[in-house]
Amino acid sequence: MSWKKVFGTLLALLLLVGCQPKSSTLEVQNAWARPSIAGQNDAVYFVIANGTSQDDTLLSASVEIASSTELHMSMSEANDVMTMKPMQEVAVPAHQNVEFAPGGYHVMLVGLAKPLEAGDTFPIRLIFKTAGQIQVQVTVKEQ
């Protein structure tokens, strides 16, 4: 292989890295939950990436390993008091990411049927108004 070809390839690679393709679907990424013991509550976190040009809404979530789930948002009130507010739905505007992360939106799992240990995975189904049902695997990890 000639050196010109090597440089050409390297340059092409560099350009490719620069133009990451944008997804045009609604995706749920990096779903995770903390380890927990049976009977307890837990929270599932993820990022909803709405790559479509349509606004969407997360309506509900369900898992098999807990007796029920709720959409929640943690928020701080005056004087460092933290509370959680149940959400009927969560809006996911077009071309935007909505982050479910500690201290903010989360899917609360009420009454775990079994303990969750780091490394476990379990499925979660999310129902969206437009995108319909999306199922992803949740990874159990410390952070």
């Binding site: 050196w3 090597v6 440089f7 390297l10 560099l14 990096n30 992360a101």
Partner: protein, 262 residues
């Protein structure tokens, strides 16, 4: 007496040991720097250590003093005459490049002030060490070429290049995804934007340094350089150390100075 031999009159063994001693100094200073960041939280001290490190690199590894070694050469077509103007040209280029990095550093100081993004300390120290070791081998490579030892040059320059690639992978393939997982992304706010712009611009320079070394290695294998005539080797070396010198300031600016922000 060959005109270039004036600038490196040391014998090979003492030149190599000088490179090693400077490397040890730089390693000790990096350790002190990390210790200061852990225990004292003092930005002026970190800046002072960075300046001392940069001074050592600029003098002993980049031999900035050669700029003043203008010889009374009147033949404008001689290698010695061209070497003098080549050096000035290279340093002018480095000066212009340092405005880019200086601008980024100023941006960081202006936007983030006494805060810094939450980054993996272990990774930061590791890539810094990798780059420092690469500078050590770069110095060995240049010293070898100055004394006409082509085999040793090829070995040391290849090691330098591989360490450069390791640094690139460490930053782009490990540190970036790691930062993104921690919530520091190019779009997550000023801290993320500053971090990716600074490391990205620097990594791009390391990448060009690797390409530069590739060219020089290929030409050296063809026997294009000698102890007397190896300007391209010197230029690649000075450029490589310049990129390391930039990191001497970027590393504390990104990883050590200031209070963590989420």
């Amino acid at each position: 007496m060959a005109s270039t031999s004036m600038t490196h009159s040391q014998d090979k063994a003492s030149a190599l040991s000088q490179g090693l001693v400077i490397f040890i100094y730089l390693a000790i200073l990096t350790g002190i720097e990390f210790f200061i960041a852990l225990t004292m939280d003092s930005a002026p001290l970190l800046v002072l250590v960075a300046i001392v490190k940069a001074g050592l690199v600029a003098y002993y590894y980049m031999h900035i003093y050669r700029l003043t070694a203008v010889e009374a050469e009147t033949d404008h077509h001689s290698y010695a005459y061209k070497l003098v103007s080549n050096r000035i040209g290279l340093w002018l280029f480095l000066l212009s490049d340092s405005f880019v990095f200086g601008g980024l550093l100023t941006t960081r100081i202006y936007l983030l002030g006494p805060t810094r993004p939450a980054l993996n300390q272990f990774l930061g120290l590791t890539v810094t060490a990798v780059l420092l070791v690469s500078s050590f081998f770069m110095n060995r490579a240049e010293t070898s070429m100055e004394h006409g030892d082509r085999k040793s040059f090829l070995l040391n320059a290849t090691l330098t290049m591989l360490l450069g690639v390791a640094f690139l992978l460490g930053v782009v393939a490990v540190e970036w995804p790691n930062a993104i997982r921690e919530g520091v992304t190019p779009a997550s706010g000023t801290a993320g934007a500053v971090f990716f712009m600074m490391t990205g611009m620097h990594a791009f320079h390391v990448f060009t340094g690797v390409l530069f070394l590739l060219v020089v290695l290929r030409n050296a294998r063809r026997g294009l350089y000698s102890a007397e005539k190896h300007w391209a080797v010197e230029a690649a070396t000075v450029y490589w150390h310049f990129v390391d010198l930039v990191w001497i300031f970027f590393y504390p600016a990104l990883y050590l100075i200031g209070k963590l922000i989420g």
